[in-house]
């Protein structure tokens, strides 16, 4: 910061010289760091563009000789002759699971956040942290009863069961996001609504919902990313390959010895693409969810 200011024109020559050196050092450090963060993405993209003939180990860092989408195609469709399943059905499962679970948990979170922010009821100081604790627990501590309960109600091994699980365990973070957002809505708006004779629901529907789109975007992006990326619930609740979400299928694909590296990397890229796209397009909102997760509002 200070070195930067000293570099303005008109400052002493010596100061400029040393800040120039400092700037080059900073730049070099940043480029080095960037290389570290890019490395896995580079290998993932480059390897998945190669044909099997080209995936020789000695050339793994080299660029492919041409664009080949054969690895993606094989990761997507599978290779039945070698008993390798494609990821296409699992990608679709993840979509069918993530979209409703995201919408439902965001909606529940908005109702909770509204009540907690605008209707201080007795015990709210205990209920709020008690709900939030649900996002920190190691899910291993609920898996055994969860499996038994889902089996009993007939939802074990189904996408509906997995949706239910993600909606319930998504409540804490969405409640937090909406509570913090609604806390910034002036209380006068609620009072005005009360004066007009609107009750709990009326104020929610007519005043809060129209103000909510920014919070919905933050909560939805957060939930989309975490549900899409979930592995533990997916692997515990679904055992049939045709019901499993993409993370579980990718792990099976990568764990099988008959599958080549280029196909594995193609599959990894397919699994990463939706959330990466959301991040690149809506990064600002992604950041807000991230900050909310550390309870910093």
């Amino acid at each position: 910061m200070i070195a930067h200011r000293a570099a303005r024109p008109g400052t002493a020559g010596q100061g400029r010289g040393s800040s120039q050196a400092a700037r080059i050092l900073v730049g070099a450090a940043l480029v080095l760091a960037a290389a570290f963060y890019l490395l896995p993405f580079y290998v993932m993209v480059v390897t998945s563009m190669k044909s099997f003939a080209e995936v020789s180990l000695a050339r793994m860092w080299a660029l492919p000789s041409g664009l080949s989408f054969a690895s993606f195609a094989q990761a997507w469709q599978g290779n039945p002759a070698h008993g390798q399943r494609g990821l296409d059905a699992n990608f679709l499962n993840s979509v069918k699971l993530t979209v409703p679970a995201t919408v439902l948990s965001a909606w529940l979170g908005s109702m909770n956040g509204y009540v907690l922010a605008k209707w201080r009821f007795r015990g709210a100081d205990i209920v709020f942290p008690a709900i939030l604790f649900g996002m920190f627990i190691p899910y291993q501590s609920v898996l055994i009863p969860l499996v038994q309960t889902l089996q009993r109600i007939g939802l074990y091994g189904t996408l509906q069961g997995l949706i239910l699980v993600h909606v319930v365990y998504g409540i804490p973070i969405t409640t937090l996001i909406f509570r913090n957002y609604y806390a910034t809505v002036p209380n006068e708006l609620v009072e005005a609504g009360t004066m007009d004779g609107a009750g709990l629901w009326g104020i929610y529907q007519r005043i809060m919902i129209p103000l909510s789109p920014p919070a919905f975007v933050v909560a939805a992006i957060w939930q989309f990313t975490s549900i899409w990326n979930d592995f533990l619930f997916g692997v515990t609740v679904t055992s049939q390959p045709d019901v499993q979400p993409i993370t579980v299928a990718l792990n099976n694909l990568a764990g099988s010895f008959v599958v080549e590296w280029n196909v594995q990397m193609g599959g990894a890229l397919l699994a990463a693409l939706p959330t990466l796209l959301v991040y690149v397009l809506l990064g600002r909102y992604f950041m807000r969810g991230l900050m909310a997760g550390s309870l910093k509002g």
């Binding site: 760091a33 209920v127 627990i137 190691p138 291993q140």
Partner: protein, 286 residues
């Protein structure tokens, strides 16, 4: 209006945690449930088990490496990016990108990067890069080397989550008024002293929340181990969360799995509950 959510959390979080606690006190170590009371036997057996002891040591190693890496790298990157330049958003976006992808993808890619290669095939991945850079002496077996094991997993985890600490620190640095830096400068503090004696102490609350958030992630680490290494040679990359899953759903030792889960839960609660109570209370006062 909150009733459905409160009921769901009461059952799915608190009810299930209690149920798991009950399972951990039974003899249920087979496919079929057996709720015969066994007291603390599962816990006693667990602390005698070699695998669990290794897991605890691994968790400590992983946590130390992961926290040091994320805090050190995150803070350094935040300081480097604090100067608002034109390219800053590009770097920031890149450093945060790994947060958007799943641990499974990270694990699959890093397993390839840290593949040790073999005598017949020669070097692969990072080892090959080290060879090319004439740094061959740095080559190791990574996750196949029992002495490193879990630390290779920590490297991938640092890659994935250090951007998070960078973002926290960057937000913190930018909330510190410029006047303070100028005052320190007037008092004759150089860049190093400014950071050491002014900025780092001011950023302490951020360091604390980063330690709590990352610490609880490291206690729960599971997906990355599954995708990257599995338990490794001699359990050198095994962790409690993986042991729990393995013994419960593959070995049908439900009481043992429940006991591991409850121990993890208590550790996470010790770390997060004070923070949770403190944060929600100060928020109400604000």
């Amino acid at each position: 209006m909150m009733l459905p959510s409160v009921a769901a959390i009461a059952v799915f979080v608190y009810g299930f945690v209690g149920w798991t606690g009950y399972v951990s006190l039974t003899r249920w170590n087979d496919v079929l449930p057996d709720y015969t009371w066994a007291g603390l036997r599962a816990y006693r057996d667990l602390f005698d088990a070699v695998r669990f002891r290794i897991d605890i040591v691994n968790t400590v190693k992983f946590t130390l490496a992961f926290l040091t890496g994320c805090l050190g790298l995150g803070f350094s990157l935040a300081v480097l990016l604090d100067r608002r330049t034109k390219v800053e958003p590009v770097f920031r976006t890149l450093f945060l990108a790994p947060l958007a992808i799943s641990f499974i993808v990270t694990g699959v890619v890093w397993r390839w990067l840290l593949n040790p290669g073999s005598a017949q095939l020669g070097s692969v991945g990072i080892n090959l890069l080290l060879d090319r850079a004439h740094l061959g002496f740095l080559k190791t077996g990574w996750y196949t080397d029992p002495r490193i094991g879990i630390l290779a997993v920590a490297l991938a985890a640092i890659w994935q989550l250090s951007g998070y600490t960078m973002a926290l620190y960057l937000a913190g640095l930018r909330s510190i008024p410029d006047e303070l830096r100028e005052a320190a400068h007037v008092d004759g503090a150089g860049d190093w002293q400014l950071h050491r004696y002014v900025l780092i102490p001011l950023l302490q609350p951020i360091t604390l929340s980063a330690v709590i958030i990352l610490g609880h992630i490291s206690l729960k680490i599971f997906d990355l181990v599954v995708a990257m290494t599995g338990p490794g040679p001699g359990f050198s990359s095994d962790v409690p969360a993986f042991f729990m899953f393995d013994t419960t759903f593959r070995g049908n030792h439900f009481a043992q799995g429940a006991a591991i889960a409850e121990i993890l839960l208590v550790l996470v609660a010790l770390l997060t509950v004070p923070y949770l109570v403190y944060s929600t209370r100060t928020e109400v006062e604000r």
